[in-house]
């Protein structure tokens, strides 16, 4: 009997500690959450040093860092600062495992879609090409960056042409490069480009960004088509059409284009301006690329 009292006191203290520890842990987690996850990459040593320190386990360490980097990339809003940390992480991962092509590929895309850091994206892709010269998607993505972000069609064409010559490259790439060389400033080139990118990507966040951009360019292409038809209508009948449907009947358009966001194309007879019900502004800079 005399033993039960100290025993129950011990058990009670134990239980109290379990509860207390849980609360303490919750509190510490809150304190730690003040530092964003990505900033912890700050403590990552340089790839070259880490390579020696992991004693032959480079691949596994690269995998674990990559998984962490993906989680950070999956956050809803990626700031520019976070973008720089992502770049740093990608650089370390690819130094550890230079043949990890998926990192160059997904990282190169993420650095121009989730954030706008084309220089960093290019650096990652160039590093990837250096270590994996036979992998066509890397020069393809580099071409993408030069076309959309840096507005250098000649360089873009060079890289796409290079990609088209590599094993496994889709056949359309060669034609693509030719059109780029001709510097075809038409939205259709951009649509082709974005559609291929979309097919290539498996990251849901990036896909959403690409899908939105793709639709915006489709709207731009449709608006240009409609505007062209309207001016031909005016040349033909010496007056503006009353409705957009008027364009179809004389055969100026095969059918009215469908608005990709699910809205409608609106037409103002007075000003003869067409616009999408879903987009406030038209794409600027040569009307199809992202404004920097």
């Amino acid at each position: 009997m005399s033993l039960t009292a100290p025993m129950s006191a011990l058990v009670a203290t134990g239980l109290l500690l379990v509860g207390g520890l849980h609360l303490l842990q919750v509190r510490i987690d809150e304190q730690r959450a003040v530092t964003p996850k990505l900033q912890r990459f700050m403590y990552l040593p340089q790839g070259e040093y880490l390579r020696g320190a992991v004693l032959g386990y480079e691949q596994v360490v690269a995998d674990l860092l990559w998984i962490q980097a993906i989680q950070a990339m999956g956050e809803r809003k990626v700031t520019e600062e976070a973008g720089h940390w992502i770049y740093r992480a990608l650089d370390v991962i690819t130094t550890l495992d230079p043949k990890f092509v998926r990192v160059y590929e997904a990282g190169g895309i993420a650095l121009v879609t989730l954030v706008v850091l084309p220089e960093e994206s290019n650096r990652i892709l160039e590093k990837g090409i250096q270590h994996n010269p036979d992998y066509w998607a890397l020069p393809f993505l580099l071409g993408f960056n030069y076309y959309f972000e840096l507005h250098d069609d000649a360089k873009a064409a060079d890289y796409i042409a290079r990609a088209s010559r590599l094993p496994g490259a889709p056949e359309y790439l060669a034609g693509f490069a030719t059109r780029l060389y001709a510097s075809a400033r038409e939205p259709q080139v951009a649509i082709d480009f974005l559609a291929r990118m979309y097919e290539q990507t498996s990251d849901e966040n990036v896909r959403q960004v690409l899908e939105r951009r793709l639709k915006e360019v489709v709207v731009e292409r449709d608006l240009q088509l409609l505007e062209e038809a309207i001016s031909r209508y005016r040349a033909l009948y010496k007056r503006a059409p009353e409705r957009l449907e008027d364009l179809v009947r004389p055969g100026l358009l095969r059918a009215l284009p469908r608005e990709p966001f699910g809205g409608r194309y609106l037409y103002d007879q007075q000003t003869q301006v067409v616009r999408s019900s879903e987009m406030k502004e038209r794409l600027k800079v040569y009307e199809k690329r992202r404004q920097r």
């Binding site: 004693l55 386990y57 691949q59 995998d63 990559w66 998984i67 997904a106 498996s202």
Partner: protein, 255 residues
């Protein structure tokens, strides 16, 4: 020859009774299996992550087993005084040592086999393809374990288990960094330092020779001639260490 087999099989049975062994193999298998879970966190490349984690687990747990079972082999016999009963018999000391080493090598082979089976099962479950390169990588991992075991046995002939473990672990770490000795030496120019660094480079085991995990996972070619050279290096280095261990053990005075 027969005497070696008896001692080896006895050592094998003895190590199988070691609980630490089962814990390590269990954790190895757990880690290999958990790679399926981890691979769901990534985009694409699930197979790479499963293979990386599998090979790394086999390697890491193999090394831990080699060190922590290897260091106790000889010292335990001395501590428990069981060594006297063997030394008193017409068994030369070097045969005793070689038997012990072979027994542990057999244990390691079985352990690596179990972990490899778990690894291949994981690959099959995740519907990735098995390929021969993985087996090559595991083969060289086993070679690395043989060298490390020889290091552990060598140290355990003349010092305590704790010190042997520390020394062997140190050799393992250094063994993966010896390439830097060579690079460092090359930068020194012709000097005494360079001679010393070069000497160290050729004296210490280069354990990175046995690391083809990256090539295996990325599907890069691993030449059969390379496998042969690396395996020969491993066997030759282990033999050298065992001869050294026998020489030390021969002179040792048991009190």
């Amino acid at each position: 020859m027969n005497r070696i087999t008896v001692i080896a099989l006895n050592t094998f049975r003895e190590t199988l009774r070691d609980k630490i062994l089962y814990n390590l193999v269990f954790f190895g298998l757990l880690l290999i299996g958990s790679s399926i879970l981890l691979s769901t966190l990534t985009i694409g490349e699930q197979v790479k992550i499963i293979e990386d984690i599998g090979l790394a687990s086999i390697n890491l747990f193999g090394v831990i087993i080699a060190i922590f079972v290897g260091i106790g082999l000889v010292s335990k016999e001395i501590e428990k005084r069981t060594i006297f009963t063997i030394i008193a018999k017409p068994v030369p000391r070097y045969l005793f040592l070689l038997g012990k080493y072979s027994g542990l090598a057999l244990t390691l082979l079985v352990n690596v086999g179990i972990m490899a089976a778990g690894f291949f099962l994981t690959i099959l479950v995740s519907k990735a393809g098995l390929h021969l390169a993985l087996l090559k990588a595991i083969g060289l991992i086993f070679m690395e374990l043989l060298v490390i075991t020889a290091v552990a046995v060598m140290f355990s002939t003349f010092t305590t288990p704790t010190l042997s473990a520390t020394f062997t672990l140190a050799i393992y770490v250094i063994g993966h960094l010896t390439d830097d000795l060579k690079v460092l030496g090359a930068k020194m120019g012709e000097s005494l330092t360079k001679t010393i660094l070069d000497g160290l480079y050729y004296l210490l085991p280069n354990l990175d020779y046995f690391n083809v995990k990256g090539q295996a996972v990325h599907g890069l070619p691993i030449e059969p001639s390379y496998l042969v050279s690396a395996a020969t290096y491993g066997i030759a280095y282990s033999t050298m260490l065992l001869i050294l261990a026998c020489l030390i053990f021969q002179r040792r005075d048991f009190k």
